[in-house]
């Protein structure tokens, strides 16, 4: 009988150790000495993953580092690997209790948790990346990454030799579909005959599956691989096959030095600086922010020197047009995959239409 008690003890100890490892979340405090700064401000961050993913969370963490660089006196408290759901609410509450003036949550699924905690702590400001719901002290923010995807499509469309490109995509949701359409339209703008084959992985994150999906596209004859995934594996697959590829989130050049043409990238830093400055100045107000390439929240990574200069110039010109707001990606005529007209000549899709996009443009091979 004693042995059984001992077993129970061991199991309890093991479970506890799991909780310590699993829930520790590595709260790290990178602080400037706060005493000497009058405007010392505590900023909380809740990450869905770890900065080491070289993808989504890495981009946000770069933004955080930029912020600390630009505004002295910012003290960051970071919680990594916080799952969406009940655990998230606890994490946001913890940061609010630790005295953060403003808390950033970087995943769509934090919405309900942030709304609940924002109600409880009216003096704390909450910022929800990719979110939908706002409140007096809860803003949402996101970027028009589709603009950068259009530009990356132009590069890819100019470099494909057999006019067949592949796109490794996570989930059939408007955000991803919008990106695929923008990429395809960009490619067609320089190469009308191009088609884009789409493979869904149904995961944001599975290195093995993403690579396998990219390989299947390469076997099907695609000679450029683009991705809406959080790891660099599709790039690696293209590099190994000696084909071109377009990254996402960050400049993924180093993972495919030969094949990588460019990457649509996130640049959260300036936006974070503006937001914190607004908090310091007392001008912060709740909003739904969807910034474009003109505000530099999204951008295109440096274009590979394998791309002819004429193409790079064309891309630069389009980027200028986007920056000056003379033109946007979803400007008609736009035909859907099934042949219906989605935008007449000169008609521009509204934000609402873009945010609920559930159809492919003509030239995309795949089903939603």
């Amino acid at each position: 009988m004693k042995l059984k008690k001992f077993t129970v003890l061991i199991l309890v100890a093991m479970l506890l150790s799991v909780f310590v490892i699993g829930c520790g979340n590595d709260a790290k405090t990178d602080s400037e000495p706060p005493a000497e700064q009058s405007e010392a401000i505590k900023v909380g961050w809740v990450y869905i993953g770890v900065p080491g993913d070289y993808g989504w969370t890495y981009a946000h963490d770069q933004g955080r580092a930029y912020l600390e660089d630009q505004i002295p006196g910012v003290e960051s408290i970071v919680l990594e690997n916080v799952p969406e759901g009940a655990d998230a609410e606890r994490s946001f509450e913890q940061l609010a209790q630790e005295g953060c003036s403003i808390i950033f949550g970087t995943s769509f699924g934090y919405g309900d948790a942030m709304l609940a905690v924002a109600e409880k702590y009216p003096d704390v400001k909450f910022m929800h990346a990719t979110g939908l719901q706002t409140a007096d002290n809860l803003s949402t923010y996101f970027g028009r990454i589709y603009q950068a995807r259009y530009l990356s499509g132009m590069v890819a469309g100019a470099m494909t030799e057999n006019n067949t490109m592949g796109y490794v995509a996570a989930f059939p949701i408007p955000e991803v579909i919008r990106g695929i359409n923008a990429f395809t339209l960009g490619a067609q703008s320089v190469n009308p005959d191009v088609t884009v084959k789409v493979v869904w992985t149904n995961t944001w994150f599975d290195p093995a599956k993403e690579k396998e999906a990219a390989k299947s596209l390469l076997e099907a004859g695609c000679d450029v691989i683009a991705q809406h995934q959080d790891t660099t594996e599709p790039q690696v697959a293209a590099e190994e096959a000696g084909k071109y590829c377009v990254g996402y989130n960050n400049d993924m050049h180093e993972f495919a030095p030969e094949g990588n043409l460019t990457s649509p990238i996130w640049n959260w830093g300036p936006y974070y600086v503006n937001t914190i400055q607004a908090v310091i100045d007392g001008t912060w107000a709740s909003e739904s922010y969807w910034g474009g390439i003109d505000e530099e929240i999204v951008d295109l990574a440096p274009i590979s020197d394998k791309v002819p200069a004429t193409v790079t110039e064309q891309v630069e010109a389009k980027k200028e047009a986007l920056k000056n707001k003379q033109w946007d990606v979803f400007t008609g005529p736009i035909m859907a995959q099934d042949g219906t007209e989605k935008a007449a000549e000169g008609q521009v899709l509204t934000d609402a239409e873009m945010l609920s996009m559930d159809w492919f443009v003509a030239g995309v091979e795949g089903s939603i």
């Binding site: 059984k4 129970v8 080491g52 993913d53 084959k197 299947s216 695609c222 790891t231 690696v236």
Partner: protein
């Protein structure tokens, strides 16, 4: 589908099935001795992390394989201690170890996230056999681990069914009281099988982090450990059927993407759930037509206590 596409599909099938087969063979050995180990996912993750970290630091992927064996064996030895010596609940211990393994591997691998892997297993180019049209690319252009996996799985069948040791292991799993009565050390056999099984799960994990997608990412095995557990039941505890089953599962994984690229209009969600439907179907069929000789080892999941004989 043309012939090149078919051979590429079959080659991808073998690669996708290999990590599952490593883990399933190990689990099969443990279950044959009467120990149910639900910690396969955790052991695979620890194996993947140990293998990757060791390879990056030593520059030798075979040392990485050794580290993966040690890592998987280490987690399995905790399971052995809890379930054999302490006679704890095997299900609880296994589940705890899955969570523990994913936490431990994430913790250790933290600084290696996204690190490049300069030392990779290269596909062997087997002379003559590799030049056979169609069959060459399908079977003879793989890395050494693929062949090692098939050899281990086949050897496992030989061990279990053709040797005295195999008879010992099976008897311990079927009826430990009787085995004990003829002088077999039940605890020792179960320790050996559980730890060896864990080492193979570690190998499966290392195959993912060193060969399949050479990188370290948290939770990168993404549920393959659970498929391995299901596969053991699918195979009715027989290693040769496990080989077939592993490649069937691998084939479904490889086919999922290729059907999409061929433009066959099936919902990607349906394709993604297909392997799991197959698993459930097999579980149902196995339960319906369970026979004495083909079923689970009689003493599977039961702790053995000499004094309660």
């Amino acid at each position: 589908m043309d012939i090149t596409a078919l051979s590429a599909l079959l080659a991808a099938t073998i690669i996708a099935g290999t990590p599952i087969l490593f883990a399933a063979t190990g689990e099969l050995l443990a279950e044959r001795s009467g120990i149910l180990n639900l910690g396969v996912e955790g052991m695979m993750l620890v194996g993947a992390a140990f293998g990757f970290i060791s390879t990056v630091n030593t520059g030798n992927h075979w040392l990485g394989i050794l580290a993966a064996l040690a890592g998987g064996g280490f987690i399995a030895s905790i399971h052995a201690l809890v379930t054999i010596t302490l006679r704890g609940n095997q299900v609880v211990s296994g589940l705890a170890l899955t969570i523990f393994g994913s936490g431990l591997s994430g913790f250790l691998g933290k600084n290696y996230q996204g690190a490049p892997m300069p030392y990779q297993f290269k596909p062997l180019n087997i002379p003559v056999l590799g030049d056979i049209p169609f069959l060459g690319p399908v079977f003879f252009h793989h890395d050494a681990m693929v062949y090692l996996c098939i050899i281990i799985a086949t050897a496992m069948w030989y061990l279990l069914y053709k040797t005295m040791w195999g008879l010992t292991i099976r008897s311990v799993g079927e009826n430990p009281q009787a085995a004990d009565a003829v002088g077999i050390n039940v605890a020792r056999v179960r320790y050996f099988c559980t730890i060896a099984g864990g080492m193979m799960a570690g190998l499966g994990g290392a195959y993912i982090s060193l060969v399949y997608a050479p990188t370290w990412q948290e939770n990168m095995t993404a549920g393959r450990g659970w498929i391995a557990v299901a596969l053991v039941i699918f195979a009715l505890w027989n290693p040769t059927r496990a080989i077939l089953g592993a490649y069937l599962f691998g084939g479904v994984e490889a086919l999922t993407f290729r059907l999409q690229t061929m433009g066959i209009n099936i919902s990607s969600f349906f394709l993604a759930m297909f392997p799991y439907i197959v698993t459930i179907l097999v579980l149902v069929l196995v339960t319906i037509r369970r026979r004495q000789d083909a079923g689970a080892p009689e003493a599977l999941g039961l702790a053995y206590d000499r004094e309660e004989r």
